[in-house]
């Protein structure tokens, strides 16, 4: 009797689990295409914000490679580098580097660098900084992040790539120095990385796996 009751309950629970998982699987299967498309659009939007579409004519968001450099790019994980070209000539790169020492953890950035080594723009991909203080690095809160535009390793000189409090030229926020300090250092290090690897970055081939996907996308389109 007891065994029968247990079996019945277990069967019931199993049925619910199967129906629930099944519904989730069906929804996922139907939604995943749209989700991937949305992500792709959102990526292209943020890339175009850094390098306007008029400046390149390659498949910018798919022309990417993965690189490793923990000291300069701030993470041990592979870092994605997107490459913009016009008629095959290098125009700019966008490097998804990390400021590892933010106040609330790592800050993921998109650093756009023109071929000549000047900054095309910087955007924040994700951060967990203090609301109202560190979050002022977000472009919809203050214009701070735009103070990098047009800068390079010679403008200002390397030792001035700091916040004002540390003797540099970049503003900090009232009550929040750690966040801007981390971002300034990360952008500077990304520039150093670019300076050391520029030609290799543009020459590197798109890895096999992505290349195949790229072909598929072309066929699909």
């Amino acid at each position: 009797m007891l065994v029968k009751k247990m079996m019945l309950s277990a069967t019931l629970l199993g049925l619910f689990a199967m129906v629930g998982t099944g519904l989730v699987a069906i929804t996922y299967d139907n939604a995943k295409g749209r989700i991937a498309q949305n992500q792709e659009e959102s990526l292209q939007q943020s890339l175009r914000a850094l390098v306007p579409a008029t400046r390149y004519n390659n498949d910018f968001s798919h022309d990417h490679i993965e690189v490793h450099d923990r000291p300069l790019l701030g993470t041990g994980d592979p870092v994605i580098v997107y490459r913009a070209r016009k008629d095959g000539k290098p125009v700019a790169v966008v490097i998804e580097s990390v400021a590892p020492d933010g106040y609330g953890g790592p800050i993921v950035l998109l650093v756009g660098i023109n071929y000549d080594g000047t900054i095309a723009g910087v955007r924040v991909v994700s951060e967990q900084e203090t609301p109202g203080l560190g979050t002022n690095i977000e472009p919809d809160r203050t214009h701070w992040i735009f103070s990098f535009d047009g800068r390079s390793l010679h403008n200002p000189q390397l030792d001035k790539w700091k916040v004002k409090k540390d003797g540099g030229i970049f503003d900090q926020f009232t009550g929040a120095t750690i966040t801007p300090r981390a971002v300034v250092k990360a952008v500077r290090n990304t520039l150093l990385y670019y300076q050391q690897h520029r030609d290799a970055l543009f020459a590197a081939k798109v890895p096999e796996k992505t290349a195949v996907k790229h072909e598929d996308a072309k066929h699909g389109g």
């Binding site: 019945l8 989730v24 749209r34 959102s42 203090t130 919809d140």
Partner: protein, 231 residues
């Protein structure tokens, strides 16, 4: 147990048995996201949607579920529901999902949802359970909007900042700057401000309830009638 009327269900959900101020359930999302009015509103609406649908579903299968496995079944139903809503929003409302995305998984751990499933939906008809979920959800939303609005006003001196995350690009100028050139009181936006604000709002609710009760007594006493137990 006599069935509750729909007006009683609505009164309990919105005020009498308010999720946040009376049951004090779901504190994790309540305290975590209410640093602005819009965040509170988004979290509240998403929770209300899940509450209404999970109550309806669980009430519909309440005769099939065996009592000894009811809690795992609730967990399964709620988790599947939240995951499906999360996926659908990600696919068809990407802008809204981007701003609410981080909150949606939090709903699974909101004990309000399983609490209403156990306390109400497992014993009541589908219609009543839907009404209970909906009004409980709206009551929760109101509480989050109040708390978020209060913290945003004190913390940054604005209201409705970043409305565009919820209502699209057209809502960019919904922001009301109440205090100009206001430095902001950081405490209100940081987590301790959430606890202080919630405490103040609960105290305010008790104060209003006590005022209403004492007025009712003073009105009814001269007539000599006994105050009917409303609570």
């Amino acid at each position: 147990m006599a069935d509750k009327s729909y007006s009683e269900i609505a009164y309990d959900g919105l005020w009498g048995n308010n999720v946040t101020f009376v049951q004090i359930l779901g504190l994790c999302p309540t305290l975590a996201v209410t640093n602005s009015l819009i965040n509170g509103l988004g979290m509240g609406l998403a929770t209300a949607l899940v509450l209404a649908s999970s109550n309806t579903l669980i009430s519909a299968v309440r005769h099939v579920i065996r009592p000894d496995v009811r809690i795992p079944v609730y967990v399964l139903v709620i988790a599947s529901l939240v995951t499906i809503i999360d996926l659908l929003m990600n696919a068809y409302l990407p802008a809204l999902h981007k701003s609410l995305g981080i909150f949606i998984p939090l709903i699974v751990v909101n004990c309000t949802v399983i609490g209403r499933a156990e306390a109400f939906a497992s014993k009541n008809s589908v219609g009543r359970s839907f009404a209970d979920g909906l009004t409980m959800g709206i009551g929760f939303t109101l509480a989050l909007v109040l708390l978020g609005g209060m913290r945003e006003l004190i913390g940054s001196g604005t209201l409705f900042a970043h409305s565009e995350m919820l209502f699209g690009a057209g809502a960019k100028d919904f922001t009301i700057t109440v205090f100009h050139h206001y430095q902001g009181l950081l405490l209100a936006i940081l987590p301790p401000g959430a606890f202080l604000g919630l405490g103040l709002l609960i105290a305010l609710k008790h104060f209003i309830d006590a005022k209403v009760a004492s007025r009712r007594v003073s009105v009814e006493e001269p007539a000599g009638s006994e105050a009917t137990a409303a609570g």
